[in-house]
Subunit: 351 residues, 4 copies
């Protein structure tokens, strides 16, 4: 099945190309990247495989022409924020399925969107059509969808870490999400904060109180969230460490159990919740980002601290893969009826 | 003034040597390090300055002999956990002042000590003599002290970030401390988890629910703490991101103010609290560990998130300096009546 | 086709497992690792794919039993130096093909072996049977071989960078090979020099004049070599920067040409030399190790500096892949008659 | 003594501020940085010490006004290439001594300058006045100088590594300098190649055959040089690995000696050559950049490989300190008659 990738010059777009190079059924026939127009993928990413390395970056209108003339049924968007909502109406006339890695269609409520993103949505009439592409929470929703909004990296890691707890009614009140990302999350634009000299031997917090992924986490779980992202000196990876309060329901049911027994109950709860999810790996020890490097897996652990009456749930992903491109391909597989893990099991790197 | 350093082969001990090399009044006359006995400091740390590079590592009994024969009045201990409590009784007979970087004398209550450290204290009769060496919280206590227990790295960063809030009665309930450290915190022992291959391109949590620094944070602030340490791929630095709930007293006083006004009030509160502390740097933006690299400073920011009713307080230190050796020298200065910042203002590295 | 991996707990062995997980025709049925006996692959390498993650580390005699009872026709060895020469005689009775990643069978001359490795070879009668597994230099040799000695990481990068020049007679005298490796090359053993604290923010030379890979480079090219390896703060990658003197033959033929023309001639020379090699990527700009991260490619550039009359040839590989495990699988493909690139095209990681 | 720093917003300028903060006799009264005009030093470099952190960046004309009105006798220039030669004529009328960290006045011959720098020198009449500021090679030259051209980072490391050999007549022909630098050498400008994503887990060569430091190395030693710089994923440090051929004179004198004896003779030669140089540290093992991190030291080792008849000389420096700012202050000390190491002994960082 032919597909094209808009915004392939950025890191998430490049990761799409890497993942799609491994895919047995999708073939990338053209790539976009206005800033790199005329260059080959190989010029920007010398490590790209032969399958995609020779593709030449086109601008958006050239890509649109390719989609129309070759009847391309599947389109991936990895564009800077705000560009997808301008392209999608035209795209939906030209192609069957659009997988959007950007935030443009993740928020259903245009008022809420405006509140967090600071401007009116340009295409709010399509918000209802878009489905939120987190297969572990609602797979059926995605099957056959015409427009998929792939979740943000932080919301993916933290939502999957907390969902079994919250959805079982075992928590109350707001959640605290303290997360750390590698620098690919900051994108390929030229900023002082992204220079190696600003990143090496440094660790920082940013976006306190106001990061746009906050609302996404809140919508996913139906709770208020305090979200603080941080930046670590590494290329890939997100670890979300989440703190939640137990509800009366939880305390009534489990407070007579010891520490280890409660942790075992939680492990069982999570095992059942994710029993048919090929990319979820539960762990009895806290996960690290290295354990999911380059892969589409999410590694999750959970514990309840009896002493302080607090749940601590951790989720680790590769922000470019499960946090962006890999999850996009996972959604595309569902959209077109392929096995959910097609082309996704062999992309991790270790040691 | 002559001094000696026990445990100088480890990273905290080495940092002591570096800091003391810059000190105008302290002279290191001998260093200990059983595992490196007979080697020079320069052999282990080629970057060491001439002042200390030629010192030869002695074993503990040789060091004791030096203290006695040269009447050394000041002794620094940077030993593995548990060794200080065996040495201190004899040391206090031989020298005037002992500055201990280990955890041995940080917990006043022997029962609590046993609970968190897993064994009975070998020298509980001296726990009352020891003073906790966090000058920003109680400076007068340290002046002239015979035995100083220098705080742990995580407790230093997090306590200083939260103390003004907690001590003013503006918070209620437990606190959440989510902290990240560079790898020097793991020490110089040979473990798979400390190999570069286990650290590069990786970020992990460890010690959930049970890290021994938890009780130290709780004792400092008089509140329960959920504490989760993490490890980032860098050599030095700790950033503690702390979450606290507002008390009725805070809400009554400030909830009518806007977001920015509340943050300004908090900034003023912290400014007053730390007005005479030479190493505290308040910041209106979140601090990064790079901003205190190699220095004895602590960089602090605080904000109140009106939307979720949560305080977020951050503290950044260099774990080897303000989190260990630098703070030890700061205490030593107070102990012997020198200006608190003697030898400590010039040790940072940037860019 | 079934295969087993000895020494799978080390980094090269683990990389074998990663690469073999992607292979369409080889199936790993058992893995060895005495130090990890009883653990699962997943316990040591949480990122391992499902295909191999559940395998349990066996000791060598258990592995030998598996080979015999299941008639395993293909065996990979990733053992510490010296162990292969003790195992191979027995192995060759039990299996059809042995691919050895160690240095044990790379040197044909037992005297030369003893000179560089400091001990007599335990199995010199098999040195003649062993073929040196550098397919780009002699592919036919490897087809059907019973025992393949996979080249060292530095010799692979440097030999491939220089071979077209040296074999065409365009150079004279010794060559200088200045190479830099990531830390996975130092292996998984616990040494102070391999701690993250010894690696981060540091760059060092080691093994001057005496590194064992020197003789391998010399044998490959038939010239004397000055070889200096270095260590950089990264996990994977080798870049070899090689300096060679032009022969009279070269000068007579090309010295009338300008700088750019000579470089173009060299590019053509290299293109012809490597025209049927799927993993060689020629580049007109100097390669970087990032461009081959996790892949089996070797990226090569060459220039002639007219001003100083010196060739500069560069070769970049991933030391674990093309420098060890990937090349081992490439050889195995040739040995059993599969396409040389089976299972090897999809393993790189970018961005 | 008052001084000012032009170009203090860049990394070399910032390092000047750090080093000068430690200086007992120099006081920075004003700093320049057009791009940061109006900001404080602390805004760009939060780690800056109190002494300089509150200085406000001025533009060049404001700085000139400060120099004139306050009779500032000492001026440091850390400007982008080409700007110094436009400023120096006016500066020399306003101040007593100018220490230029740029390349503008390093090349004595305007023709040679034009050849390597691609444009005519704007101020060639002052080339004779300028002295090359490498104190270890010619200290007396620098004393009292009005205009000092501080050497480049690569030339400093490689020249000091090779000078004793070359100046003793023990070498013949060209030299090969293979060097690796941390990323601070690339400066603070926004380029894709300087992003953390382009640097982490990567190692590359650049500037083959044409790097401008080549001519500086050649002029220092009076030999032709093949120079290949590389970039490693770290902030600070340069290691130059240099290869030289023995002359007949060397062979006649020493070839009867064994490997170790020859190395010992070389160690003695270097010891004598650098016997009165406070920043040179000779080592019998190859130096690493970590051993000079943040310090003004240069660590040097040398060996002769009998087998291949090749000298291998290594020099390690911190590119920002001995490779730029520290050496500038070392020169300034000599210029104004202070002890050469004033303010420079305490700036290193370890572990």
């Amino acid at each position: 099945m032919k597909c094209v990738v808009f915004g392939a010059s950025g890191y998430a777009g490049a990761e799409l190309l890497r993942v799609l190079s491994n895919h047995p059924h999708f073939e990338v026939v053209a790539v976009g990247g206005a800033s790199a127009k005329g260059l080959k993928v190989r010029d920007l990413y010398p490590a790209s495989s032969s399958a995609v390395g020779d593709l030449v970056f086109l601008d958006n209108s050239e890509l649109m022409w390719v989609i129309r003339s070759e009847n391309v049924p599947l389109v991936f968007l990895a564009l800077p924020h705000g560009e997808s909502q301008r392209l999608v109406p035209e795209l939906l006339e030209a192609t069957s399925h659009v997988i959007d890695l950007a935030a443009d269609f993740r928020i259903k409520d245009p008022t809420q969107y405006e509140q967090w993103y600071g401007h009116r949505h340009f295409c709010s009439e399509l918000l209802d059509l878009a489905v939120y592409g987190l297969p572990e929470l609602d797979r059926s929703n995605i099957e056959g969808a015409r427009l998929v909004a792939v979740p943000g990296c932080y919301p993916t890691a933290s939502t999957l870490a907390m969902a079994p707890l919250v959805r079982s009614g075992y928590t109350k009140g707001k959640v605290v999400v303290n997360a750390t990302s590698g620098v690919s999350g900051a994108g390929r634009s030229l900023r002082l904060e992204s220079l190696a000299m600003s990143i090496l031997e440094d660790y920082r917090a940013y976006g306190l109180r106001t990061h746009r992924h906050t609302v996404e986490i809140e919508n996913n779980l139906g709770v208020k969230a305090v979200f603080t992202p941080h930046l670590a000196p590494m290329k890939r990876g997100i670890l979300a460490t989440c703190y939640l309060e137990p509800s009366e329901s939880y305390l009534n049911k489990f407070s007579s159990l010891g520490q280890d027994q409660q942790d075992e109950e939680l492990y069982e709860l999570y095992s059942r919740f994710y029993e048919s999810d090929p990319f979820v790996r539960l762990s009895r020890t806290p996960p690290s980002t290295g354990s999911v490097y380059g892969s589409n897996n999410v590694s999750i652990s959970v514990t309840y601290d009896k002493r302080t009456e607090t749940f601590i749930a951790l989720g680790a992903i590769d922000n470019l893969t499960k946090g962006a491109a890999g999850q996009g391909v996972q959604c595309a597989n569902l959209v077109v009826g392929l096995p959910e893990d097609s082309g996704l099991m062999q992309v991790g790197v270790w040691p």
